[in-house]
């Protein structure tokens, strides 16, 4: 697998979509689509995420790698495929501010890891968001922000959501949480993802516990 993961990582970081696609198609055919996602795609995306965390890969590479992976995984494991992990319900939202890149990367990485999730786009309205979480029976809500004021306002969002959906877990992410590692606890979140690959890990763990 090491040669294959290295080759896939190289293909992604050099944005060689054709090579990446060919490699994954061959492995998926030989070993099965979900097996290929779990053994190749997810570890490589985690590795790229860690390299970004260490300052050795740029955000633009992380984003483009995620896009390529999402496209490839959509081919070998279409969104209607029963092997996709869609239960329990999960949703993602940009809260209070208007910076979408972080959410887009996490959404892409989760889909590239075989998850299906609801995209709530952007919301500033705590009440509407809490109602939607309840109606959709969302068990895990991922909240992305860029601004400090938005991060602090998540506290009110969490308090409101827990009133009507006490079981729902809230995972937060975004720049303010990277610059203040205790902030997620201060606002009452259940977890914080420092980057998209951490978000995938957290989601995997939570989903196993919740399911």
């Amino acid at each position: 697998m090491t040669n294959q993961t290295d080759a896939f990582e190289n293909a992604l970081l050099s944005l060689n979509k054709i090579a990446a696609k060919k490699l994954i198609s061959e492995i998926a055919q030989a070993e099965g689509a979900m097996q290929c996602v779990e053994k190749i795609v997810v570890p490589v995306m985690e590795r790229i995420g860690s390299k970004w965390e260490e300052g050795n890969v740029a955000l633009s590479q992380l984003y483009m790698s995620g896009r390529i992976c999402e496209e490839i995984v959509d081919t070998i494991l279409p969104s209607v495929d029963p092997a996709r992990k869609r239960e329990p319900n999960m949703a993602i939202v940009v809260f209070n501010d208007y910076h979408f890149l972080g959410k887009r990367i996490v959404y892409t990485m989760l889909r590239a890891s075989g998850f299906e999730l609801l995209d709530y786009a952007q919301s500033t309205d705590i009440e509407a968001l809490a109602v939607r979480v309840k109606e959709d029976n969302v068990k895990l809500l991922l909240v992305s922000v860029l601004m400090l004021n938005s991060a602090l306002r998540i506290k009110s969002l969490i308090e409101r959501i827990k009133l009507t959906s006490p079981e729902t877990k809230i995972v937060v992410g975004g720049a303010p949480f990277r610059f203040d590692p205790q902030l997620w606890q201060e606002i009452g979140a259940d977890a914080m993802g420092k980057n998209a690959s951490e978000a995938v890990d957290i989601v995997t763990t939570f989903m196993e516990k919740i399911a």
Binding site: L15, G55, V57, A58, L59, S60, Q61, Y63, M64, R67, N96, D97, Y98, H99, F100, L101, R104, M147, L148, N149, S150, L152, A175, P176, F179, D180, L183
Partner: protein, 354 residues
């Protein structure tokens, strides 16, 4: 050096990589002026006079070594036709992007600076500030780099896709943005600004790999900065700079805003004699600092980057969050005045002891 310098003398001396009387303090406060005047953030930025009064009061209260004529980042895309979304407790955000699909780039034109009301307001504030402050303190204006402005013009994800997938349209957008950035920067200098803070977070290796930067952001910065008729300080707004510091020093800029993610000692060594270091207090954590913590952090930053000059103490993002209380800002200022006085013999003694 014991004679008290003016703020401007202090800053110019440190930019010349010599020790002034004290480490200069750039407390880059934008929204705190609104608090001081008892106005909402939206109301505050609606009139040049408010910002003038706010900045003058901030300088007096915190003994700040600069006037910051920056209003809010989206003012530039507002000039291009975008909306601005105000918040009660944070900086305004840009609204719907003006470029919704790459092809839109073929049909947009840059605004004319001196005919655009939101930019005229900033220029009026700069003129009034210059009339009040004279040569006592530098007025730091800002311009978003041509390479970074598209994050607000089209959204970050779409911009990354443009960079990789539509090189012709990327080039066209950069040409327009360069013209706008030069015109906007020079208009602010003409209005009385001393220097331009060239905000360029996309050039950080946090966002763009070095190889790509050398082919894009670097060349753009070199061309643009050469046409700006005054000194510039490049700011990467919390992004990492170490792998491209030497490259940035070749763009013609005089200073660099540093992220808290990087070690000041390492950065100072890499910048020595080439770039003045600006930074790198953690603005996000700052809201929770006690006065003692603020003093310890300021002292540590001065010990690492102060010796030899070429250092200005500031936050790491280029804007202090609204949530940072006055007491903390006062403690930071007090600490710079206490520990920043040259020669920094105490830092040498303490490092000898260690």
């Amino acid at each position: 050096m014991t004679t008290e310098m003016t703020s401007l003398q202090r800053v110019l001396t440190t930019l010349g990589h010599q020790e002034p009387d004290r480490v200069p303090l750039f407390l880059l406060v934008t929204m705190h002026g609104a608090k001081e005047l008892g106005l909402s953030i939206q109301e505050y930025f609606s009139k040049a006079e408010n910002v003038v009064e706010g900045q003058l009061r901030m300088r007096q209260k915190y003994r700040n070594d600069c006037i910051y004529s920056f209003f809010y980042a989206p003012v530039e895309v507002e000039a291009w036709g975008s909306d601005v979304i105000y918040r009660e407790d944070g900086p305004p955000n840009s609204g719907r992007p003006i470029i919704r699909k790459p092809e839109d780039i073929k049909y947009i034109e840059p605004p004319k600076v001196k005919e655009t009301p939101c930019l005229i307001k900033v220029l009026e504030a700069t003129q009034q500030l210059k009339a009040k402050i004279g040569d006592d303190a530098p007025i730091i204006a800002t311009a978003i780099s041509p390479f970074s402005l598209p994050v607000m013009q089209m959204g970050f994800d779409k911009y990354i896709e443009l960079m990789y997938e539509h090189p012709d349209l990327f080039d066209r957008l950069m040409k327009m943005n360069e013209e706008f950035c030069v015109e906007w920067s020079n208009a602010q200098l003409e209005a009385g600004a001393t220097a331009i803070c060239y905000f360029d977070p996309v050039s950080s290796t946090t966002v763009t790999p070095r190889e790509m930067y050398l082919e894009s952001g670097f060349k753009i910065a070199k061309r643009t900065i050469a046409r700006i008729k005054g000194p510039t300080a490049t700011h990467l707004a919390s992004g990492r700079s170490l792998p491209v510091l030497n490259d940035i020093s070749q763009t013609g800029t005089a200073a660099i805003g540093i992220s808290v993610l990087e070690d000041l000692t390492e950065v100072k060594a890499a910048c020595k004699g080439k770039l003045t270091v600006l930074g790198n207090l953690n603005g996000v954590e700052m809201r929770k600092w006690t006065p003692d913590q603020a003093e310890a952090i300021v002292k540590e930053a001065i010990a690492k980057a102060g010796p030899g000059g070429g250092y200005i103490l500031a936050d790491n993002h280029g804007e202090i969050p609204w949530q940072v209380p006055e007491e903390t800002l006062l403690a930071i200022s007090e600490s710079v005045h206490k520990w920043g006085r040259y020669p920094l013999n105490w830092s040498i003694d303490e490092s000898d002891e260690a």
